[in-house]
């Protein structure tokens, strides 16, 4: 099955000119399935970590959002232990004008700005709210342990 022009163009651009700290490449057997890496933003507890993600473009893309999941374990209030991400543009705020690159940039930004008030991982969010420095230390520890 041939890929829509939009996906081809996005893939081409991602491969040739990827945003800083982000890489995304389609798998050989399924061009809608991307292997993604995102580096932790500077001066965040994820700094120095390289996080693996998988991204899948459903049949309805770009009318429906891509499906994205962290493969690397990460201590973050908006990412649960299965790697699912709580991000509005991946749900109700999705717009077909958004792209893979904008989604990945938003995810990278989410690492730099955790939002414990809209948690996906309740225990992590609780930790973040009650003892922010402890939570950040934990996130740093996990980054060292799993993302390096």
């Amino acid at each position: 099955m041939s890929l829509p022009k939009r996906i081809l163009k996005e893939t081409e651009r991602l491969m040739s000119d990827s945003p800083p700290g982000i890489s995304a490449a389609p798998k050989d057997d399924n061009l809608r399935h991307f292997d993604v890496t995102v580096t932790g933003p500077e001066s965040s507890p994820y700094e120095g970590g390289i996080f693996k993600l998988e991204l899948f473009l459903p049949e309805e893309y770009p009318m429906n959002p891509p499906k994205v999941r962290f493969l690397t374990k990460i201590y973050h209030p908006n990412i649960d232990k299965l790697g699912r991400i709580c991000l509005d543009i991946l749900k109700d705020k999705w717009s077909p004008a958004l792209q893979i690159r904008t989604v990945l940039l938003s995810i990278q930004a989410l690492l730099g700005a955790p939002n414990p008030d809209d948690p996906l991982a309740n225990d992590v969010a609780q930790h973040w709210k009650e003892d922010q420095s402890g939570a950040i230390a934990q996130a740093r520890e996990w980054t060292k342990q799993f993302a390096q």
Binding site: R6, R13, M63, D88, I89, A97, T102, Q108
Partner: protein, 549 residues
């Protein structure tokens, strides 16, 4: 029916007291024929003798009338604010059809009102590209394009004079095709019509959105106008879109409610049962489809005399508990020490609680230690320790039993009411028989049908009276209530018995007819007394409930 001239203010008004001054032409399907200038808060007003203080007026509307209501409001706003009809519609939907609030805000700050509703002021179309609010990063550039046009150029050009690439599907359009094959709203975000079509159809069909479908651009809150959607999507999607708009209008209007019965498309309009009155009113109405419903909660039948909130609690309780409770009641006992529920599914009567290791006798519930070596047999049922143990158990079960007491009666009447059709059929047969053997005319045997109607109606009321009784606090008032309930119950049972009688000969028919007619009148009278007293009781705040309403 026409809605002209009567809904100006009340349609979108939650204020109970304001809703009575304009119903002069309530007609045909009104519940009653009296003027509707009536205040349920002061039941002393007795303008018409047959109107009860707890009765309400309503009208049955067709879908077309609902559409007319909206159009009328839209026209009004259109001329008042001097805006296009579709702008008026979007504004009204944004302000939940509260035209006063809309006017106030609009005159206060037209730009803010328009922008809040997802519109831009007509004089100065917004040309700026919106930043992406959900993404903390600055919005990156669009896809590579052969002619690199900055977003501002793309969005500013109302009619691009250069080739255009749709940012969604990346299809290129020659400059001669741009006008016909692409579309941008006032916000300037241009996309090809195919993508618009797919997007809008998905929103309508997939997500059931209608009034608040926004521009495809990320973060742009511009609302897509009705005429744009109608022009771009297929006719069945457009139809569905308008159905959704109408549904949203009904849902947004506190004085409108869809008839809940399957395949019925009527809408009930009622201005006398706002949510805050539901602690003293049970607004039962009848739709043109012939079914009753509760305007307050949408229950698909009359649940008089019980308040909506109590009905809801009851239904939840029944759904959660009844079957389980029944089974527990029949098959288990509680450990007299730790109150764990135990099912005995075999073995002897020497029970050892798995949880607390307490050893007891299943028959007398007393401690096993007192049984000595009397295995397999208990003759101690009357001894003190056993009685005490059973007492505690009885207490713990009392509340369950109390619930089941009311539930079983409720369920019995529910069950009988479900057999309506069968009851009617049987009675009809009997009526035929009477016509044949008793030389009675068709008219003369109608009494039987009237009696069946009375029985069914009374059964429904009785059913709900048990739900009511379950939640009532025990006091003198409750006793009066239960007296009324018992009288009605007896009257219904004896009428039911009479209706079951077989017709033996011609002489007996005359007597039976007399008896049934009398008894039916009595049932009706007892029914009215119970209903009247209970519903009036709400207005007089006579009832005290064991739960918060």
């Amino acid at each position: 029916m026409s809605s002209d001239g009567e809904n100006e203010d009340l349609m979108f008004e939650d204020e109970y007291d304001d809703a009575f001054d304009q119903d002069e032409d309530m007609e045909d399907v009104d519940s009653t024929s009296e003027p509707d200038v009536y205040d349920a808060l002061s039941p002393a007003i007795e303008e018409a003798p047959q109107k009860k203080p707890y009765d309400i007026s309503w009208k049955v509307r067709t879908l077309q009338e609902i559409i007319d209501m909206q159009n009328k409001e839209i026209k009004k706003i259109q001329s008042l604010l001097e805006v296009p009809a579709s702008t008026a519609a979007i504004l009204l939907r944004h302000y939940v059809w509260n035209s006063e609030k809309l006017q106030e805000q609009f005159w206060n700050d037209p730009t803010a009102a328009l922008q809040g509703a997802g519109l831009s002021p007509p004089s100065s179309p917004s040309t700026r590209t919106q930043t992406l609010p959900s993404s903390p990063e600055k919005r990156p550039n669009r896809l590579p394009r052969t002619t690199v046009a900055s977003p501002s150029i793309r969005t500013r050009s109302r009619l691009p004079t250069e080739p255009f690439e749709c940012p969604i599907c990346c299809t290129d359009f020659d400059k001669t095709l741009v006008e016909g094959s692409t579309f941008a709203m006032g916000c300037g975000h241009r996309f090809c019509r195919d993508c618009w079509g797919e997007y809008l159809s998905g929103k309508v069909k997939g997500e059931g959105e209608s009034a608040k479908i926004q521009c495809m651009e990320s973060g742009c809150q511009r609302v897509v106008r009705e005429e744009v959607i109608d022009e771009i999507v297929s006719s069945d999607i457009s139809k569905r879109y308008h159905n959704l708009l109408n549904a949203a209008f009904v849902a947004d209007s506190s004085n409108l409610r869809w008839c809940p019965h399957p395949n019925c498309e009527y809408i009930i309009e009622c201005n006398q049962a706002p949510a805050r009155m539901l602690n003293q009113l049970v607004p039962t109405v009848e739709c043109k489809c012939g079914h009753e419903l509760c305007f307050g909660c949408g229950y698909g039948a009359s649940h008089r005399p019980v308040l909506c909130r109590i009905v809801k609690m009851w239904e939840k309780k029944c759904a959660d508990d009844s079957e389980t409770a029944n089974w527990l009641q029949a098959n288990t006992k509680e450990c007299t020490k730790c109150q764990s529920t135990i099912e005995k599914n075999g073995g002897c009567n020497h029970m050892t609680c798995k949880k607390c290791k307490w050893e007891f006798c299943w028959v007398c519930m007393g401690p096993w230690s007192e049984h000595g070596t009397n295995w397999y047999q208990c003759n101690r049922f009357d001894e003190r320790s056993g009685i005490d143990a059973r007492d505690t158990q009885a207490k713990s079960r009392a509340s369950l039993e109390r619930y089941l007491h009311y539930f079983n009666r409720w369920a019995n009447h529910e069950h009988s009411a479900k057999l309506d059709a069968e009851f009617y059929r049987k009675t009809e047969k009997k009526m035929e028989q009477m016509q044949n053997s008793g030389n009675l005319s068709w008219i003369e045997v109608q009494f039987a049908k009237a009696a069946v109607d009375a029985v069914i109606k009374a059964r429904i009321t009785l059913k709900w009276s048990y739900c009511m009784a379950f939640y009532l606090k025990r006091n003198n008032m409750t006793e009066l209530f239960e007296d009324n309930q018992r009288d009605l119950e007896r009257a219904v049972e004896s009428l039911g018995y009479l209706l079951e009688q077989n017709i033996v000969d011609t002489d007996s028919i005359a007597k039976l007819r007399q008896d049934i007619t009398n008894q039916a009148a009595y049932v009706q009278k007892r029914h009215d007394i119970l209903m009247d007293d209970t519903l009036k009781g709400y207005l007089e705040r006579r009832w005290e409930f064991s739960v918060d309403i």
